[in-house]
Amino acid sequence: MSDSTFEARPKQQHHFDLNFGKSIMALPGGEDLYRCIQCGTCSSTCPLSAYMDHTPRRIIAMTRAGLKDDVLASNTIWLCSSCYSCTVACPKQIRITDVMYSLKRRAIQTRRFSVGPVAALARAFIASVLRTGRSNESRIIVRTWLSTQPFELVRQAWLGLRLWLKGRLSLRRHRMTGSARDIPKLLRNLHEPPTFNRKA
């Protein structure tokens, strides 16, 4: 794994998108974004802060300031493992994990994939669910590595073999007992422009 993922990127953005913060606030879970007092509790509880190029506190400040490109290009949103430490620790009850999800979705929508393997994993995961209704971790991780870091396949071959011998790894697809076609059918019928008003 090269360390390029973790290089802190200098701020490059010269123009500000002043509606960026508002647009994130409008998404479910982001309602309290503007209550942030920049205390840094999220950054100190986040187990992944050390690997991020911007800590969660800084991401919130940058989002509100409109540094859209810097936020969406950061590795922070991809490194978040959704452990919810920040969400429960936040003194202002901001659902920071959900804000991270919103930012990640925005990055995907604008086709910015700053951490390749995480995006590749998501791609493989969704392909698996759409096809069979279930996910098979072994297949997903093999596909992820094939498309991004094939060397990992070699490095982890021994672990894979040991797991296989113990009956814990299988490349066979797991299928739903009923019709897996229900899943794409279900997901297709969700789409309609969202507004997301919170219940009064």
Binding site: M1, N136, T195
Partner: protein, 293 residues
């Protein structure tokens, strides 16, 4: 006591020993479970980061199936991620009318209906709060003497929707394994992230996190780690050898499911608990070594 069992994808693959031991323990205690028919993937954390409403719809399909199969029965979700996603979907579907409208409409297309009264619970919750610690204590046949256990809950079971235990210092697993005769060590990292899927995607970060947990558990004298999530177990067990050459210590700490330890205490056979499937064999409890393992 009757429950619907939602295994989730992991328990059918890398987490197979969890399913085996969970069902064996439930059978031994007379807790009745039926597998949810035709269940699908809960969406996990990955789907949430790609399309939130789709993630909630995937979860809601399972909840709707549960309502249809056994109305009023609680759903047992042993995987932390499934447990969180199913709970989160319920919160969001009831909190945001727009999400509810879209999910309900899409479910109708596949002839399902979700009313919103499914109780999603973790096996720990059921064992501790429904069955009861005292009753489990009475059932213990072979106390787990000699095991210094670090109880690791992981993140998504108590955060952010903690319904049965404390968010910062959960005690359910400790109480359960103490009743099973184990020596439970005190450690502060029991809800810190194990690295989740990052062990596969960005190994530097992922194994960094799991390594830290292992080091601290060992430093505090643990010789076994008990987990309640298939991904936590995988991360702590499978990447143990990595990055440890530097520290010089070469002990391997078995990482097992809490149901496996409980099953041993209840006198069940190690094979029926999936203990043969572990990469690092569990050190046999000091007492009755031959009889147990």
């Amino acid at each position: 006591m009757h429950y619907l069992y939602y295994p989730g994808c992991s328990l059918k693959a890398t987490g197979k020993p969890y399913e085996e031991s969970l069902l064996a323990v439930f059978r031994a205690l007379g807790i009745d479970v039926d597998e949810l028919k035709d269940w699908n993937c809960c969406g996990a954390t990955t789907y949430m980061g790609v399309d939130e409403v789709q993630a909630f719809a995937l979860a809601a399909r399972n909840l709707a199936l549960a309502e249809r199969q056994a109305s009023g029965a609680a759903v047992v979700a042993p995987c932390n991620a499934c447990y969180l996603v199913l709970n989160k979907a319920q919160h969001y579907v009831s909190e945001y009318p727009d999400i509810r409208k879209r999910v309900t409409r899409a479910l109708k297309v596949i002839e399902l209906e979700y009313c919103g009264d499914v109780n999603v619970r973790h096996p720990l919750d059921i064992l501790v709060n429904d069955y009861g610690i005292e009753r489990i204590g009475q059932e213990v046949k072979q106390p787990l003497a000699g095991l210094n256990v670090a109880c690791y809950c992981g993140c998504q079971i108590v955060r952010p929707y903690s319904t049965f235990d404390d968010q910062h210092n959960p005690q359910s697993m400790e109480r359960l394994l103490r009743a099973a005769g184990a020596n439970v060590i005190d450690w502060p990292l029991k809800t810190r992230c194990c690295g989740a899927a990052l062990t596969g995607t960005i190994p530097t970060a992922g194994t960094g996190l799991s390594d830290l947990l292992l080091k601290e558990a060992r430093r505090r004298g643990a010789n076994t780690i008990a987990t309640c999530c298939p991904l936590c177990q995988h991360n702590l067990e499978c990447y143990q050898a990595e990055g440890r050459g530097e520290s010089g210590t070469l002990v391997q700490t078995p990482v097992v499911y809490f149901t496996q330890l409980l099953g041993l205490a209840l006198g069940l056979k190690p094979k029926s608990l999936g203990l043969k499937r572990m990469l690092i064999a569990l050190q046999p409890p000091a007492q009755a070594t031959r009889a147990v393992l």
